[in-house]
Symmetry: C2
Subunit: 252 residues, 2 copies
């Protein structure tokens, strides 16, 4: 194992930061690394908004369901799907909206933009961690997408997908054990016997229950399948589709 | 700039590979690194299928629009959105399909899965490159999703999103210059003046035209906005939504 893989395996989400700011040079290294990631057909269909202003982070923290670390981190990066810039490219070439609408409003194009934004974000995370910074992804911005968009002044066809808090870790945190490799990696085809998957999930349930037990002095011993099942039974953000449609992304 | 950021900035897609295989140990390091990426609400909503069989890669190469490197690489990884496993978790906890359908069929859950798969993939890319391997993302698998799914035996609610070829580079390749940082990174809000974005795109157009001119001895000097505009004017994969619906992912 080399040093880079060692760092990747060491990743854990950091939710508590010191007051030390992230420097301009660090921001440039993080964003430059994000941009170096692959991009589907070279579209670079994302924009990153960096928030340093405390009042704005306080508001975003509330909108994300009172996640205190959004307020307390020195830098919040917001990764947006950006098809507005793509549309502008076409306009600059004299290609009118009638000729680009089918592409821009398609589920395919949304998928491309979400993938592009996420690839960029993960490179940003790796770059930040390589400099001793910690990060945490914030999906909670999708709870109140209209309010977030208003605050960030994003135009139509630009959608804030998720945030990332960045800063120096104040407290260490533990990495959560992942699914056994054999439960996420299969060769040649998907698993043909469901019992194979089930068996691995049952084994993993014990690992996760033990992980919680250790960390809570026995107060909590949730199984992973229990967490996942309960989560699915409480549908979340069912209005995300309507929100996208309201921003001229009907996902046709 | 540290070594890790240096490696990230060095990234370029590799489309030509030597015959040297990717070892089992390397595959485990790549998949392990993928798994170490953040995952939304701990759902780990993806599965990676590794294809070593040449005949299967030949077929996938055809399906992806005759991308020769899909056939020629020693290892093809296919990143799938996997909500089948999530559903199985619920079933294992006695939570029936009526209680999980709204979540599983939502645009939100699709978005979570696409982000999870892409974060994992980018960690896989970084890990592979750290070991001297080269990679190339393959979006072309979405051209013929039904045929790809049949070949990979993916069940309902599992969708092959994109591939990644992996192997030792046979030929060096050049990194394509990215948008200027100021065209993808904004502070506090999205840019309020469209002319700011336009000016940066015009400057970038010159960079890209020069890049193509140099590499083609003057035969090609395409602007970036021209590429993007032309691409949008030719809608692609408009049936992706219908395909998703046919796999019980109607994106409600």
């Amino acid at each position: 194992m080399n040093e880079i893989i060692g760092k990747l395996l060491e990743h854990r989400s950091i939710r508590s930061y010191t007051a030390q700011p992230v420097s301009e040079e660090q921001i440039r290294a993080i964003v430059g690394s994000a941009q170096a990631a692959s991009t589907s057909s070279f579209v670079q269909a994302y924009t990153i908004i960096g928030i340093k202003d405390k009042a704005r982070r306080t508001r975003l923290s509330e909108l994300a369901g009172n996640q205190k670390h959004v307020e307390d981190c020195p830098l919040l990066l917001i990764f947006c799907l950006d098809l507005h810039r793509s549309e502008l490219c076409a306009a600059m070439e004299g290609i009118g909206p009638d000729r680009t609408r089918d592409s821009l409003e398609s589920t395919e194009q949304y998928t491309v933009g979400v993938v592009d934004a996420a690839l960029a974000a993960q490179n940003a995370a790796v770059a930040a961690e390589s400099m001793g910074l910690g990060i945490c992804y914030i999906g909670g911005l999708r709870n109140k997408p209209r309010e977030v968009a208003e605050l960030l002044k994003t135009p139509e066809r630009v959608v804030p997908l998720f945030g990332m808090t960045v800063g120096y870790p104040a407290k260490p945190s533990a990495a959560k054990p992942r699914l056994p490799l054999e439960a996420v990696y299969s060769e040649e085809t998907y698993w043909t016997e469901e019992s194979e998957i089930r068996g691995r999930l049952e084994k993993y349930n014990e690992v996760i229950a033990e992980y919680y037990r250790e960390r809570t002095g026995g107060a909590r011993a949730e199984r992973w399948t229990e967490q996942m099942g309960n989560r699915l039974a409480k549908p979340n953000r069912l209005d995300w589709k309507d929100y996208l449609a309201s921003r001229k992304l009907p996902l046709n």
